[in-house]
């Protein structure tokens, strides 16, 4: 057993131990146990992942041989290790946060069962990533999905919660069934090999039609887990009802498993040979991003808003994966590598800031009793620490420099512009449209999080409870601080992060992305064999020599090094940007301080046109802030007017105008509801055909189905 394996075993043992202790210990200890056992397990996981990523060790364990389908293997390669890193980043603070947070449930619910499942969830997640063959992967996946359902229903006495968890369960089960079909088909086509490496090797020569079919089945199966359009309905339902630590996990790492599945099976094991599959992924991703952010912008429930924003972020990740697949198919390995690296970069960013924001939302909910942004406001003064940490998360997710969201979104947009290298006009057009969609998404994300921050933390408190809220428990603040630090580090250190991710993504990216994105010209002024002397010479002009003396690392993120057709260099450095920003802010501050040194400061109430008192309901509400978006994208929201009436006395004096409208979820409207209606209709039709006792008819049906299967099999 090597060290990585030891730590991995530790993860499993600690999780199980946590579960056992939880079952035995009194309910009051719940939070503490999570904080101690859970956090140590997550730390062990991080260590194991780090060791593997550093390239020293890997995990190769053969468990036991199944009677029919070969060996159950644990294999952790660098890709899995990277996903484990994201897992740890999300789980560690979520566990730590539980310490103070679980107390709120003690009065009404017994959180012990929650605790057991929450502990085991980490082990199951780790096992999914460690699975080295299809069978153990499916088994672990099964367990993980089952375990995840229970923590959502902690507050099981509320109808809404039960409904949401049923939806979660149903859609995830459907996803599992679909992907199981796809994976088993793969195994069948590969002649019974189940190991990932063996699969990769033996699937090389299957027919294009089978490729397409497998791709579609696997992609849509896993896209349920990733919450991509059109299979995202469960996400905005399940997130708000789950306890905040669970929603943080769901958004921060469970969604990543969908991406893992897509990357593992659609990109690594069965790499695309035509642009089609990649374009599908790209379009689905871009659509998810746009739809996700639109709903996030207009939603006033903080957790629901975050859930919609998760759809958006997963959409961006999927779009990058899709781009990677298209570039692979067009034999542009450098660009493909960049796209995959950016996808992973965005994924880990999302894990960091979304966990942070969910924890913040949970803390706000705990302290004010509401998640409705129309009821919040003025929290900046009541909880300045939380506000500062939330602001970091909000700026990061809104993709503002120098935080991590900016780096990955900027790289995404830059990558999508590289479609100029294609010969196919169709692909170019798709890329252009998706690029426009993603750009709009980025702009709306700013609106969305300006609203979230402004309506919750600024202005007057819109409810009694919000005006009396206090700073959350220390555990919440510490866990958020860890994540905020992660956001900042990931933001200012892309030149270190990108090579690391590149190393992790070796099966897909070789060593191409790092060299292309962060050329090492600072450390090698001349003579680097990857770069032409002319190129190095050009960079020497723009200060490469100076940079070498200041920071001993790759200093710039360069996306376009200037070709013959387009001799422009796109480059940026958040690291330098921070330096310059800090300098500017500091000098401005000094200047202002100097200029105003003799001023007296008077604090007076806000100017409201001489109004006697500016009441909170005379200031912008969250609904009002996002109303322009609601009006502009009316056709997408397809609002259902529930009530529009005015109560009048004799037609002149109106005593009440009442307007109620529900914004329908476009996915439900266009996909889920027609689907269920069709299934219902088909079922009724079948019920009509199905007359009890007609054995002949049954036999005919069975024959017909068999025939169809044979024909399909023949065709493939």
């Amino acid at each position: 057993m090597n060290i990585a394996e030891f730590f991995f075993l530790l993860v499993l043992l600690l999780s199980v131990a946590g579960a056992v202790i939880s079952a035995l210990a009194p309910a009051q200890w719940t939070g503490r146990i999570l904080a101690i056992c859970g956090t140590s397990a997550a730390t062990a996981l991080l260590i194991a992942a780090a060791i593997i990523l550093a390239g020293h060790e890997s995990i190769r364990v053969d468990l036991w041989r199944l009677p029919v389908r070969g060996m159950l293997r644990l294999r952790v390669d660098s890709v899995s290790a990277f996903f484990m890193l994201a897992l740890g980043i999300s789980f560690l603070p979520a566990y730590w946060f539980s310490d103070g947070y679980m107390r709120r449930y003690l009065a009404h619910y017994d959180p012990r069962s929650f605790n057991i499942f929450f502990h085991l969830l980490l082990a199951a997640c780790a096992l999914v990533l460690a699975a080295g063959d299809v069978i153990s992967f499916l088994l672990a996946w099964r367990i993980m999905s089952g375990l995840a359902t229970f923590p959502i229903t902690l507050e099981h006495r509320q109808d809404e919660n039960r409904r949401a968890s049923y939806l979660f369960l149903a859609m995830n089960e459907a996803g599992i069934i679909i992907s199981t079909v796809g994976l088993l088909w793969m195994v069948a086509l590969a002649g019974g090999h189940t190991g990932f490496n063996a699969l990769h090797g033996s699937l090389r020569h299957i027919s294009p039609a089978a490729r397409w079919a497998i791709f579609l089945i696997v992609f849509f199966g896993f896209s349920v887990k990733a919450g991509l359009i059109p299979l995202s309905s469960w996400l905005p339902q399940a997130h708000p009802v789950a306890p905040a630590n669970m929603s943080a996990i769901m958004s921060g790492c469970l969604l990543n498993f969908g991406i893992y599945g897509i990357v593992r099976f659609d990109a690594i094991i069965l790499p695309p040979i035509s642009a089609g599959p990649g374009l599908v992924v790209l379009v689905v991703g871009a659509l998810s991003a746009l739809i996700g952010i639109l709903y996030a912008t207009i939603d006033n429930d903080m957790k629901k808003m975050l859930a919609h924003s998760s759809i958006e972020n997963l959409g961006i990740i999927a779009a990058n994966v899709g781009m990677g697949m298209v570039f692979t198919a067009y034999h542009l390995p450098v660009l493909a590598a960049i796209a995959y690296v950016v996808a992973m970069y965005h994924m880990i960013n999302h894990s960091a800031y979304k966990t942070l924001l969910f924890i913040a939302a949970g803390a706000i909910d705990q302290q004010t009793g509401t998640r409705d942004m129309n009821q919040l406001g003025g929290l900046l003064k009541r909880m300045p620490m939380l506000a500062a940490l939330f602001l970091v998360g909000a700026l990061a997710i809104a993709a503002l420099p120098p935080l991590n969201g900016f780096v990955s979104e900027w790289l995404t947009l830059q990558t999508i512009l590289r479609s100029e290298e294609f010969t196919s006009h169709f692909s170019r057009v798709v890329f252009a449209l998706c690029g426009a969609g993603l750009a709009l998404t980025a702009a709306l994300a700013v609106t969305c999080f300006v609203k979230a921050f402004a309506m919750s933390f600024l202005g007057p408190a819109h409810s009694e409870k919000a005006s009396r809220a206090l700073e959350p428990a220390k555990s919440a603040r510490i866990s958020m601080a860890i994540l905020a630090l992660a956001c900042i580090l990931l933001g200012i250190g892309p030149t270190w992060v990108i090579p690391t991710i590149n190393r992790a993504m070796k099966p897909l990216a070789a060593n191409l992305a790092a060299n292309a994105l962060v050329p090492p010209f600072f450390s090698h002024p001349h003579g680097n064999k990857d770069f032409s002397p002319g190129f190095m010479h050009d960079f020497a002009h723009i200060g490469a020599g100076i940079g070498r003396n200041i920071i001993p690392a790759r200093g710039l993120v360069v996306l376009h090094q200037g070709g013959k057709s387009n001799p422009v260099v796109y480059a940026m450095s958040t690291f330098y940007m921070v330096g310059v920003l800090a300098l500017i802010i500091f000098t401005t501050w000094l200047f202002v301080r100097w200029g105003t040194r003799r001023r007296t400061i008077t604090i007076s109430e806000p100017w409201a046109g001489g109004l006697r008192r500016l009441a909170p309901d005379m200031t912008y509400s969250a609904t009002g802030f996002s109303n322009p978006v609601r009006v502009i994208f009316r056709s997408i929201f397809g609002p259902a007017i529930r009530e529009d009436s005015s109560t009048a006395v004799a037609g002149h004096f109106r005593t009440a105008i009442s307007k109620q409208r529900d914004d329908g979820y476009i996915v439900d409207r266009l996909f889920l509801r027609p689907l269920t209606a069709t299934v219902n209709y088909a079922a009724k039709l079948l019920a009509k055909i199905h007359k009890p006792g007609m054995v002949n008819a049954y036999a005919a049906w069975v024959l017909a189905v068999l025939l169809v299967i044979l024909v399909i099999n023949r065709l493939l």
């Binding site: 006033n300 129309n374 409201a608 046109g609 001489g610 109004l611 006697r612 008192r613 500016l614 009441a615 309901d617 005379m618 200031t619 912008y620 509400s621 969250a622 609904t623 009002g624 802030f625 996002s626 109303n627 322009p628 009006v631 006395v649 004799a650 002149h652 004096f653 109106r654 005593t655 009440a656 105008i657 009442s658 307007k659 109620q660 409208r661």
Partner: protein, 534 residues
């Protein structure tokens, strides 16, 4: 009202008697049949009013409340366009009674008059769904009514403690709805008033106006003062239509004192009133141009406005024509050269205006902002009893110069009332320009055969009595009720001003508009707070 009309509808008194039967009593014809006064039983009031307005097409003029020693008396004044005597329905309350049935369901124009009487007299209009917080704001102590005789006018008001939670009643119920407060101190030059916009962001569903920030209590201050002193206030409470209000007031006083004013004074009054109208309309048009940011046209019209002001000062000594109208005629006479100057200048201004109007009609960026903005459909204009250019832009005929002519307007009638049908901002612009041109014509006509002779009939001590004087002020119909006490002093003054009438209509007409249209709408209605608040 001191000269009989030609075609009085003789049927009205008979019909009134027949239809209303026992509900009214003591129908008398006053002022040679021009005024029918009847006393109405309080409970029969709504049906009587409804019959007058719906069956007989009468229009509501004003509600005059008088706190008499015998008990409160409420006079509902109505007039009929074109022909027909004015009607005054009186309700007399016993000395301690305070309750009257509300008629604003039947005639919506009475709404604000009732709310005003509720605040000022402490009357209760049963069935009115919205009383309180109107003239007197939240800081005014409960149960004190400034128009009651026992109230001390010279004791400064003591503010009461205001509930910090106080706010106007919100009627929009939708998640996330909020009140956007505007004012009372807002915009660059706006008069003080407050508007709460009920909105969910972007689209304003409804507007809650709050007025009377500028309430100076002119009507209360007038009580017990001499005609000369009251005239100063009547001129100055709304300085931009001083001539109109002074004329209305003087006409009431003259009617009480049975004074016939000299023909030359009648002609000069018409000239002064039309000059004021021209200047006033220039002011409104300038505000409209400014609200759309059209710099050159607004500069053009600003220049015309200032030139009209200078002309006024040159002609009559004062830029806003203060001190020109006097009870019995005019305060001063004018020489031939004064009049020649006036005619020349006014015609020049009209030419300039015509040029500007033609240019504006071809400026799409200007028209776009006004077309379809602040639309008042004709039905609404009628229902709310709007007056003035706003009503006429909605094809609602209300010009008193035509429909209840007074003074020289009888001999020298307005050719045609300026009417438009769209009821939007652009229609109002067209009405304003058309009125400027017709005013110039009127001035020319009146000057063509200007009578000679005295300009004032000295008004001796005015006897006790009451009368309602009406004029078409620049903003619309104005009614001044005056009751003189036996001591030659004013015992009661009640002014129903066009801005008061139209603000009531405006806040109901302005619904479901985009927030950025608000300033343009305000400018296109061009109403005055000073005139409404008194």
């Amino acid at each position: 009202m001191n000269q009989p009309l030609n075609h009085i509808d003789q049927q009205i008194p008979i019909a009134l008697r027949d239809e209303l039967g026992d509900r009214v009593s003591g129908i008398v014809e006053l002022e040679s049949g021009l005024l029918l006064a009847a006393v109405c039983r309080a409970d029969a009031l709504p049906s009587a009013v409804a019959w007058l307005v719906e069956q007989r097409k009468y229009r509501f003029a004003t509600l005059v409340v008088q706190a008499l020693p015998s008990g409160d008396q409420l006079d509902y004044w109505f007039y009929k366009p074109d022909n027909g005597p004015w009607v005054k329905l009186s309700v007399r309350l016993s000395s301690d009674a305070r309750e009257v049935p509300s008629v604003s369901e039947q005639v919506h124009a009475v709404d604000w008059h009732e709310r005003q009487a509720e605040d000022l007299f402490g009357l209760v209009f049963t069935g009115h769904p919205k009383l309180g917080d109107f003239v007197l704001h939240e800081e005014w102590p409960e149960g004190i009514n400034p128009m009651r005789p026992e109230f001390n006018v010279f004791k400064p008001m003591v503010e009461k403690e205001v509930d910090p939670q106080w706010r106007p009643e919100k009627i929009l119920h939708t998640p996330g709805a909020f009140l956007m407060p505007i004012g009372p101190v807002y915009s660059d030059y706006a008069e003080s008033a407050q508007f709460f916009l009920e909105t969910v962001g972007e689209d304003v569903v409804r507007m809650i106006p709050r007025f009377f920030f500028k309430y100076r209590g002119v009507e209360r201050l007038a009580e017990g003062r001499s005609v000369r002193e009251v005239l100063l206030m009547v001129e100055r409470f709304s300085g931009t239509s001083a001539v109109a209000h002074a004329t209305a007031f003087c006409r009431s006083v003259e009617s009480i004192g049975q004074v016939a004013i000299p023909p030359r004074a009648e002609a000069l009054r018409l000239v002064a009133a039309e000059l004021e109208r021209i200047r006033h309309h220039f002011g409104l048009l300038s505000d409209m141009c400014h609200s759309t940011g059209m710099i050159v046209p607004s500069a053009d019209i600003d220049i015309m406005e200032e030139e009209a002001l200078r002309l006024s000062a040159q002609w009559a000594g004062h830029r806003y024509l203060y001190g020109l109208i006097a009870p019995g005629g005019m305060a001063r006479d004018f020489s031939q050269s004064d009049m020649a100057l006036l005619i020349a200048q006014v015609s020049r201004l009209a030419d300039d205006a015509r040029l500007l109007y033609e240019r504006l009609q071809f400026t799409s960026s200007f028209l776009d902002r006004f077309e379809g903005v602040g639309v008042v459909p004709n039905t609404n204009a009628q229902r709310l009893g709007l007056v003035g250019p706003i009503a006429r832009a909605s094809d609602f005929k209300t010009d008193l110069r035509v429909h209840a002519p007074y003074g020289l307007y009888r001999q020298c009638p307005l050719e045609a009332e300026a009417l438009e049908s769209e009821g939007d901002g652009y229609a109002r612009i067209r009405v304003l320009f058309a009125e400027v041109f017709s005013s110039v014509e009127l001035i020319n006509k009146a000057m063509a055969n200007l009578p000679t002779g005295a300009v004032i009939t000295p008004v001796e001590a005015v006897v006790a009595g009451e009368a309602l004087g009406s004029v078409e002020a620049p903003k619309g119909a104005a009614f001044h009720f005056v009751r003189m006490g036996g001591d030659g002093r004013v015992a009661r003054l009640q002014m129903a001003t066009p801005s008061f009438t139209n603000w009531h209509g405006f806040h109901l007409a302005a619904e479901n508009f985009a927030f950025q249209d608000f300033p343009i709408m305000m400018a296109s209605f061009g109403l005055s707070i000073a005139e409404s608040d008194r």
